[in-house]
């Protein structure tokens, strides 16, 4: 097994090729791309800066609007947001906004730019539970507004699914580490290996802070009852976390069965292939026409040579042998594998955090809870479950707290 392919990110633009792409941009008057970015990263503005060779200004636009700009550049489903709205599509194909954003944020890092500045201290403190993208962005916004920020993270590293989920070839760990470092340099005080509700109580956090944000995400794998206590089974997010933390340390067999058809399943499939697993078979509940994974991810997975079987549900499990039935047809399928990975979704664990969820999110819109001091953000709040929307919600939650607390003691 070699890990180079897994660790290899796709090539980015060069100075010349990024200028070519920026020159394709029509520099629209009303820039629908900017209107379509959930985090208001303002692509029309930073692309125009690139066009006029003001790379530092471009970096400022991205960073001031989006504290995770170099991460979003890599993982945003742009085809659902900015690029979906791009006017250039009416001529040929949309501007590669993610690619330009990646070039600019790489430039920012190479130029050692330090754009976000801590605001003058206002004497107020906010506790944030969870250091995923929502918690990190909320922290960045609060720090620039002058708040003190304490982040509590149950894992040994910060980043949530940025660190423990999205595979290395799409999002290199060093990129994530730099982004987190920026926020901790701004003054975020991060405590690791602490599960709020278990190692420290909500009451204690509330007593020490003027507000508490729950940004705990959907950090636990869902499973299927058929697979309970099966030693061959691992959840997708546990598998991805294990590989991302120590790719050289995982030992993989030649024959792996994956169950699930979302983007997470596609990440598992592709990761297995990049790690040289010979036979990867993914059996999916949905048929291709109703697939949940994005076309981009599905195409990438298929290119790797994964066998994808659509329309089947598991009906019986016997150790490492799983029997599936087709949902419409009278057809059965039995697969024996050395390892089974379940990618059937993630769920929230908010034990002892004092909030009620339904389908892993708040039952109402917005970020408030019954407790005026407690706010909820990220995947736990209503709305898309993506990094850029987590950034948007984190920013909005911070602004809401600022509105409520008035920024003064």
């Amino acid at each position: 097994m070699t890990i180079e392919k897994y660790q290899q990110e796709a090539k980015g633009y060069t100075m010349t090729t990024v200028m070519a792409e920026a020159a394709r941009c029509l520099l629209c008057h009303d820039a629908p791309c900017s209107a379509a970015c959930p985090a208001h990263t303002d692509p029309a503005k930073f692309i125009r800066s690139v066009r006029f060779r003001n790379f530092k200004g471009a970096a400022e636009t991205i960073r001031e609007n989006n504290a995770l700009g170099s991460i979003c550049a890599r993982v945003c489903p742009t085809e659902k947001y900015c690029e979906l709205a791009c006017t250039r599509t009416e001529i040929d194909c949309p501007i590669n906004i993610g690619g330009i954003q990646r070039f600019v944020t790489d430039f920012e890092q190479n130029a050692n730019m330090d754009i976000l500045k801590k605001g003058p201290a206002n004497g107020l403190n906010v506790a944030i539970i969870g250091s995923g993208p929502a918690g990190l962005q909320a922290a960045a916004t609060l720090l620039t507004l002058g708040y003190g920020v304490d982040i509590y993270e149950k894992n040994e590293k910060a980043g949530g699914y940025l660190t423990y989920g999205i595979p290395e070839y799409r999002l290199p760990s060093d990129i994530v580490d730099v982004e987190i470092q920026r926020i901790s340099n701004l003054g975020a005080n991060i405590t690791y290996n602490v599960t709020v509700g278990q190692d420290i109580t909500m009451a204690a956090l509330k007593a020490d802070h003027d507000a508490v944000i729950i940004a705990a995400g959907a950090s636990v794998a869902k499973t299927l009852p058929l697979f309970a206590d099966n030693p061959y089974v691992q959840s997708a997010v546990d598998f991805l976390a294990e590989v991302k933390s120590n790719p050289a340390g995982v030992d993989l067999p030649t024959n792996v069965l994956v169950i699930g058809g979302g983007d997470v399943a596609m990440d598992v499939d592709t990761t297995l292939k990049l790690l040289d697993v010979k036979n990867v078979t993914d059996v999916v509940y949905e048929e291709f026409a109703e697939f949940k994974a994005s076309d981009k991810e599905l195409a990438g997975t298929q290119k790797q040579g994964v066998t994808i079987v659509d329309g089947y549900v598991p009906t019986a499990v016997n150790g490492n042998t799983v029997t599936f039935k087709h949902r419409q047809l009278n057809s059965e399928l039995t697969i024996e594998a050395d390892k089974i990975i379940l990618a059937v979704g993630q769920q929230a664990d908010v034990t002892n955090l004092g909030i009620e969820l339904e389908n892993n999110e708040l039952t109402h819109g917005g970020f408030h809870t019954a407790d005026p001091k407690v706010f909820v953000t990220g995947d736990l709040a209503q709305g898309d479950k993506t990094v850029v929307v987590a950034v948007q919600k984190g920013k909005q939650t911070a602004e809401e707290i600022h509105r409520v607390l008035g920024g003064q003691n």
Binding site: T16, T17, A20, A23, L26, R51, T87
Partner: protein
């Protein structure tokens, strides 16, 4: 594939096609010129040959480029002088070229330092077999002020040196003009009075293309310093065309034989030079960037243009546009042409709106819901800036409107 006769006679010499290497590194030695002939160039102006005792000592690096977005070579700056090779070697190369390619046109570019060396060089290149002489009166970066564009801006010297060359050789001769002057007609007339048979225009434009912002030195940097030097390529085409028109427009120069030079890359550029009065054409920068092979599209494209125009001989096209350039005060100012915006072609980028407001006459309004522009015919002055900025050609010339109180009809205007 289309076949058309591209041949043309220029100053008494027959060219199989009008395309020549202009005097520069692209025609520096036998092997280069032979390759260019083999690939289809009709003529070569060999790299300028100077007197034996004038030592050429070049700098390194010696080029710079002007870019725009990702487009390289919008313009090209060079710091080269004349041929680096020894005189004897250059003359030997001319001899070999004429022997090997008797039917191709070989033009020797020369540059003397005084009447005597101009005369001697002319004799030497004739003896070596050149078909024609080009006098380089125009290199803007010579280390001697008795040479190059300092001479080309001085009409007395131009005339005197032309006379010297004519004493030294019987060959047809053209004088190559510098654009670093307000009125090219003056040196051109001086050269014709001195015996020149035609004019080559233009040489490079004195320039600084870029400055290194950290080191605060122009580019290229030579041991911490730089120099003003010649600019060429696409960016200089408009200047070259203007000088050529002005010469052909001058009294007594109406039929001036011209070899057109400056930013020629495509057959369309070439056709423009021909329509403004050039009989032959010379190219350097485009060859430096793309190689001699551009000749294929220059010749083929020009043939298709001739076919479209129903023309059998290239000479029929020479100068056809000269009479259509008139002084600004004689232009018809009685009407305006409103832009017509095709909403089916429009993709709603709003660039016309921005440019009309910020750079024209605030005549466009914008429908936010449909993302479509509308022109207010009263405010619009018909400048057509909007048409130029539209990325999808959705804007074209529309209704012709007479200005209030003017005589004549809109229908009679040739817009």
């Amino acid at each position: 594939m289309i076949k058309k006769d591209l041949s043309i006679d220029f100053m008494g010499v027959h060219f199989e096609n009008p395309f020549c290497l202009s005097s520069s590194p692209v025609g520096n030695c036998y092997e280069m010129c032979a390759k260019a002939y083999d690939e289809g160039w009709g003529g070569v102006v060999f790299k300028t040959i100077g007197p034996a005792d004038f030592e050429i000592d070049e700098v390194s690096p010696r080029f710079d480029e002007l870019t725009k977005e990702d487009t390289p070579f919008v313009g090209f700056k060079n710091m080269e002088q004349i041929a680096e090779h020894p005189l004897e070697e250059n003359l030997a190369d001319l001899r070999r070229l004429k022997d090997a390619y008797p039917n191709k046109v070989l033009i020797a570019s020369i540059m003397g330092t005084n009447e005597q060396t101009w005369e001697e060089l002319a004799g030497m290149v004739e003896a070596a077999g050149a078909d024609m002489i080009e006098m380089n009166l125009s290199c803007p970066q010579m280390t001697s002020h008795a040479m190059g564009s300092d001479v080309g801006t001085n009409p007395e010297l131009c005339k005197k040196y032309c006379e010297a060359v004519k004493r030294g050789s019987k060959l047809p001769m053209m004088a190559k003009m510098t654009p670093n002057i307000t009125d090219m007609v003056i040196p051109a007339k001086a050269c014709m009075a001195g015996g020149a048979d035609g004019i080559a225009a233009i040489n490079t434009v004195k320039s600084i293309a870029n400055v290194d912002l950290d080191r605060k030195i122009g580019l290229p940097i030579i041991n911490g310093k730089s120099s003003i030097s010649g600019f060429s390529g696409k960016a200089v085409k408009p200047l070259a065309l203007r000088f050529i028109q002005q010469m052909r427009d001058a009294e007594g120069l109406e039929n001036l034989p011209i070899s057109g030079i400056g930013g020629i890359e495509t057959w369309e550029d070439a056709a423009e030079f021909i329509l403004l009065g050039s009989s032959t054409l010379q190219v350097t920068t485009a060859i430096m960037q793309y190689g001699y092979r551009i000749i294929e599209d220059l010749t083929n494209g020009l043939m298709h243009y001739m076919a479209e125009q129903g023309v059998e001989h290239l000479s029929e096209l020479v100068g056809l546009a000269n009479k259509n350039m008139i002084p600004a005060e004689k232009l018809d100012r009685d009407y305006k042409v409103l832009p017509y915006i095709d909403w089916d072609k429009c993709i709603g980028c709003g660039r016309c709106l921005i440019s009309c407001f910020d750079g024209a006459h605030q005549a466009i309004t914008w429908d936010e819901a449909t993302r479509r522009p509308t022109v207010d015919p009263d405010r619009c002055v018909g400048c057509h800036l909007c048409k130029l900025v539209c990325p999808v050609d959705a804007i074209s010339a529309g209704e012709v409107v007479m200005k209030a109180g003017r005589v004549g009809t809109a229908a009679s205007k040739q817009i």
